[in-house]
């Protein structure tokens, strides 16, 4: 798991530990929150809108929330829920089944960049829940148990989403780009 928990206590002097302020949390966690929304929505302005809402909600509840790892958990959970709600309300994404996604073209140059772009566009074709599972697994590098807790679903469902999504991605990529193993 990425070391991304907020050092929610900032040292003021040698002994006194001070609770992190809202602006500390915002500064340190904006990348995480924005990236979850961006990788899920694939729309920069929509991702910013969602991220801003998340931080406004954080500000409203800041005094009631525990700092540290629990706050990171809270931010991931709220961001995931907000992003899923956003897409459901706005129908931002056209529903393209992964099987129906066009085959990628063979890249002539910068294979990693093209592969990354291709992978992101294939992930975008996944349904909401498996897509968020993939974002949590590969952006946040969370374990299935952690993802299950954040998204409020059974661990076996998370594992199933991961296996099926990976199998489908592998098939699509291998068909167009050759063996990725």
């Amino acid at each position: 798991m990425i070391e991304n928990t907020i050092p929610m206590t900032a040292r003021a002097g040698a002994e006194t530990e001070v609770r992190a302020t809202f602006s500390d949390v915002l500064r340190e966690q904006q990348g995480m929150v924005f990236s979850i929304a961006l990788h899920f929505l694939r729309d920069c302005s929509a991702a910013e809108e969602v991220a801003q809402d998340v931080f406004l909600q954080l500000h409203r509840n800041f005094d009631q929330l525990e700092t540290g790892a629990r706050m990171t958990f809270w931010l991931r959970k709220v961001t995931a829920n907000r992003a899923i709600d956003y897409i459901r309300k706005r129908k931002l994404r056209g529903t393209v089944a992964l099987e129906d996604a066009p085959e990628p073209r063979s890249p002539a140059a910068q294979p990693d960049f093209l592969l990354s772009r291709r992978l992101r566009s294939l992930i975008a074709t996944l349904p909401d829940q498996p897509r968020m599972v993939m974002v949590m697994r590969f952006q946040e590098e969370l374990m299935p148990t952690e993802i299950a807790e954040i998204l409020g679903m059974p661990v076996r469902t998370v594992k199933s989403h991961l296996q099926r999504s990976l199998a489908m991605l592998r098939e699509k990529i291998e068909r167009s780009m050759g063996d990725v193993h």
């Binding site: 929150v33 931080f55 406004l56 500000h59 990693d112 992978l119 590969f138 990725v180």
Partner: protein, 121 residues
């Protein structure tokens, strides 16, 4: 972890928030904080929707007052008309009563006149 999973990590690596994001959030937070505290910002600083709301409320109030005044005037007119009708009816009734009284008096005088005529014969 296989190559695909490594590529997925690269593809979904965290990105920086857009420039100015932090400032925009802080500005939104401050604005929300001001309205939560119930503080009344300077008139010129109020957001546009507040002006629109105030103007709409004023228009509704003016329409309401205008309507009320119109209603009051109409009711006065009706009341005056009723009064006129009542006065006219009372006058007509008095006139009719007077005519009846005159008719009775005239009949009585005629009767007396006849009796006097018969007495003199």
């Amino acid at each position: 972890m296989d190559d695909l999973e490594r590529h997925l990590k690269d593809a979904l690596a965290r990105e920086d928030a857009p420039a100015g994001f932090e400032a925009r959030v802080m500005s939104a937070v401050n604005q929300a904080g001001e309205s939560n505290r119930g503080g009344r910002p300077h008139l010129a600083a109020r957001p546009r929707w507040q002006w629109i709301f105030a103007m709409a409320a004023a228009a509704v109030a003016m329409i309401g007052v205008g309507g009320e005044w119109e209603h009051h005037v109409a009711m006065e007119r009706i009341r005056t008309a009723h009064l006129e009708v009542e006065q006219r009816e009372a006058g007509e009734a008095a006139k009719a009563q007077l005519q009846v009284a005159l008719r009775i008096t005239s009949a009585k005088l005629e009767e007396i006149q006849q009796k006097i005529g018969e007495g003199s014969h």
